[in-house]
Symmetry: C3
C-alpha cells in the first residue's frame, strides 16, 4: 500500500561517491549499512591517476552515487566507503552541504 | 542569428531534482514556469523508500534535473516541484550554493 | 605497478562544466592543462538559451564534467574554460565547496 509522504527541500548534505563500476553492488550495501535511506546512481566515465607510478591517466567505466542524508550519516558513509575501499581502489568521495530557501 | 554571449562562473545556486522518469516532461514545464532559464537532465537509477509501508527499497528509472539559477528562482522551483508533486511521487529536491573564485 | 594510496574525503571544491558534446576532447585537454588531476564525465541533455535572439530553448547533447580540486586549481579551470570557450559556446561552469565531516 502506497502511503504518500510530503517531501520538503533536503536540508543536510549530499555525499557523492565515484568508483569503478565493478564496485557498484558492494558499494550499495556499504551505503545502506552506513545508514543511507536510498541513493541515486549513474554511469559515468572517469579519467585519473589511479595510484599508478607512471602517472598515466586511465579512462575507466565508473559509477557515481549520490546520497542525501544528514551530517552524521554522511560521516558514517564517507568513513565506511573510504575506510574499506579507499586504500585499494581509485575511489573519490566528498560531501556538499545543501541549502534550503529561507 | 547566433549572438554569442560571455559566460562567467555561475554565482547563485544549483537546484537538483530527482524523480521518476515518467515525470520528465511535466517537470520540464514546471521548472521553466517557475523561472528556470534552462536545465540539464540525465538518466539515473534510484533506490529508496517510496513511501511504502513495508519499507522495501525500490530500484527505479529516474531522471536528474540540474538547474542553475539565483536564490529567488531556486525557491520558486523547489516550491513548485515539491508543492505539486512531492506529496504523490518519490521526488528528491535540494539546492546547493555555488562558489565563484574571487 | 599499482601502488595503492589512501584516499580521504575531498576537501576543496568541485568544478562542474556542462558543454556541447563535440567539445569533450578539447575540454579534457583544457581541464588537464589548467591543473586538474583527473575528471569524471557523463552524457547529459541540456535545454537552454544558447544566445539565440529569438529566445528558443534548444535541446542538445551535452557532456557534464566534474573535477575535484583545490581552490587555486578551480579558479584556473574556470578561467581557462570560460575564457577560451565561454564567448562562443553555450557553456555552463560553476564550483561548489565540498564539506568534510569534522
Amino acid at each position: 500500500m502506497n502511503t504518500a509522504s510530503v517531501v520538503s527541500p533536503h536540508q543536510g548534505c549530499v555525499v557523492v561517491v565515484i568508483a569503478e563500476a565493478e564496485l557498484e553492488d558492494i558499494l550499495c550495501d556499504t551505503l545502506l549499512d552506513a545508514g543511507a535511506k536510498g541513493y541515486t546512481v549513474s554511469e559515468v566515465r572517469g579519467r585519473g591517476n589511479r595510484g599508478l607510478r607512471d602517472d598515466r591517466l586511465l579512462l575507466s567505466n565508473n559509477v557515481r552515487f549520490e546520497v542525501l542524508c544528514d551530517e552524521a550519516t554522511a560521516r558514517r558513509v564517507l568513513d565506511a566507503v573510504l575506510g574499506r575501499y579507499g586504500q585499494h581502489y581509485g575511489i573519490v568521495a566528498y560531501a556538499v552541504s545543501t541549502w534550503v530557501p529561507g
